[in-house]
Subunit: 361 residues, 2 copies
């Protein structure tokens, strides 16, 4: 990539570190997937603790009948980051991912990108890390058993994050597609987690302190009905994450203490869309910083209504930026024009041809 057939070669300023899908996987394996998610969680927690320094913009969507592309920018005043993410439910029919993404982190003081990376895998990691982080504050102490309803692409990451960060070692898995549960159990074999495949959602919630819902259907669904949820559990509601897509019966919300990332966004995208905007919810950053309480009683139902927020991606990008010097798993992209004289961009173009002609002569 860095080979050029003319001089002068671009300076280091021209290059942007790039993490391909292959290198993202190498980074994950270099550190271990659990360690990697714990690292992201630490960065998310640190960024939530300085919540008020962030410029919290709404997502910028472009809609088509088949799906949406969104840009999710944020900034802490020193660093700028954004994620590009699509959501196209029909994509799997022709072998594409429903959700893919990439992201950029930049130095706001000079505008230059410092990281360009795939974010399909990274988003899966940060979503699970974010769920487990919230559960550290909200789930019953000593939780070891988690139900996971919806055993698709996000479920493995959720189980491993909860193992790494909370010590969960019993998973009760349910999916309307039994093959999905078998796949999950196979992927978790050897991880130190026992997986019990359950035939019904009711069976799956037996004895669990934590219930994670992470189904994929883009509609109003009722994965959990009110009578299924007993006192004291923590619900990690991940799948209801866009307008028109929810997983929980409204009555569960009314019995729960609801924790959210950013209320304005959650009210559009999360389970919270089933309630009035003025229904009381607690912001996670307030819990992490001690301004609000997390779990306060053994019988309380806590609900993390997860939708995914730009600051979590920002934290994940910061984490990746910081590990790259250690792992070395990145390439350098020749992305930024770097003329000798910044006022002479055309001269750079011109001389690149002269040098090529010279080399060919």
């Amino acid at each position: 990539m860095t080979d050029r057939n003319y001089n002068p070669a671009p300076s280091e300023l021209a290059y942007v570190p790039f993490v391909s899908v292959d290198n993202m996987m190498k980074n994950v394996h270099a550190l271990g997937v659990e360690e990697f998610m714990m690292g992201i969680a630490k960065y998310i927690e640190a960024d939530f603790l300085r919540w008020e320094t962030f410029d919290k913009k709404p997502r910028i969507p472009a809609h088509a009948p088949q799906g949406v592309i969104e840009l999710m920018p944020t900034s802490d005043g020193e660093t700028f980051g954004f994620k590009y993410v699509n959501g196209h439910p029909g994509n799997t029919y022709d072998g594409r991912q429903t959700v893919t993404g990439f992201g950029v982190l930049s130095d706001l003081s000079n505008g230059y990108p410092v990281l360009f990376t795939e974010m399909t895998i990274l988003t899966a990691l940060r979503t699970a890390a974010n769920s487990a982080l919230a559960a550290k504050y909200l789930a019953p102490k000593g939780s070891t058993t988690m139900t996971i309803i919806g055993n698709g692409a996000q479920s493995d990451f959720q189980c491993l994050a909860f193992k790494a960060m909370l010590g969960v070692n019993q998973i009760r898995a349910y999916d309307i597609d039994a093959d999905a549960s078998v796949r999950l159990a196979r992927n978790l074999a050897g991880s130190g987690i026992d997986v019990t495949i359950c035939k019904t959602a009711e069976d799956a919630i037996e004895g669990a302190q934590i219930i994670t819902t992470v189904t994929a259907d883009k509609k109003y669904a009722t994965i959990l009905t009110d009578n299924m949820v007993g006192p004291g559990v923590h619900i990690n509601a991940v799948g209801g994450d866009c307008p028109g897509k929810t997983e929980l019966h409204r009555d569960i919300l009314l019995r729960s203490d609801i924790f959210v990332e950013f209320p304005d966004q959650t009210h559009i995208e999360g389970e919270f869309q089933q309630l009035d905007r003025d229904h009381p919810v607690t912001e996670l950053w307030e819990v992490y910083s001690g301004k609000a309480e997390g779990r306060v009683s053994d019988r309380q139902i806590t609900l993390f209504d997860s939708v995914g927020f730009a600051i979590e991606d920002f934290a994940a990008l910061r984490y990746v930026r910081d590990i790259l010097p250690k792992t070395g798993y990145f390439e350098k992209l020749d992305l930024l024009a770097d003329p000798d004289d910044p006022r002479d961009l055309f001269g750079m173009v011109l001389r690149s041809a002269e040098n090529k002609n010279g080399a060919a002569a």
Copy 2:
């Protein structure tokens, strides 16, 4: 880049065509810089002719004391594009570009990017192409002499675009930094353009049918005063392109017929910020489509108040996408996770480690 040490190799779906700075220069030389700008101009004109199909969003800025990073998205309902661009006036002090950029074009029907490219050079090309395109409709017929005030990074591109698209072959150059004019003349040597370096702006406008202002100072400036502008000229005002940055005395605006890309944006960023929002201006897309008139008399002063609009970047991205199969000057980036089973992202990560371990064993 496409080398992987495990199987299966990612399918073609995983890759996104990437145009580095080096490859952008090779693409430009493969076609010729003038041909390249004429090509972009054709795409801009085509996109302006279907103006109403575009989703015209405002730029999304992130500000710092040193400058700004902006995302500029747009969509025609089938294709989505955005540009990342920074503006940091102090960057040249440590050898960085004031303005750099990159862009992405995506298929909105599945959300997958189809092009990722540098846009520092491409923006310079599209800005000049856009100026010359507007001048085709607005400048006096048979214009051969152009004044260019401000002889920095954009000036060469402007001169060549006006040569290619209007037949301008006499350039009268002025810059407060005489070295900049010498640089411009040197870069244009052999291009078929005669460059006359002028000692004052007044001298530079002598006998010109077109006056291009493209100075870089980020402030309210008066590059042209009212008495300098005679009847019949076309003013191509490129440098006044952000809040607080203008180049022309307000009285010139009052004597001119003003043409703009998108009035709401121009009123914030262009010379138009000196006038009330309800001052009459004509939108270029209306001129191109015959809904409004361009130049109607020999004595009329026409003014293109250029600020740069997302649809121009979109057109430039489309143009680059379309020439790549012919030139072949691009790489393939492994940007999109592409598991065999789209529901088994973790399995892909898991197996990548197994195969690596296998290879090492």
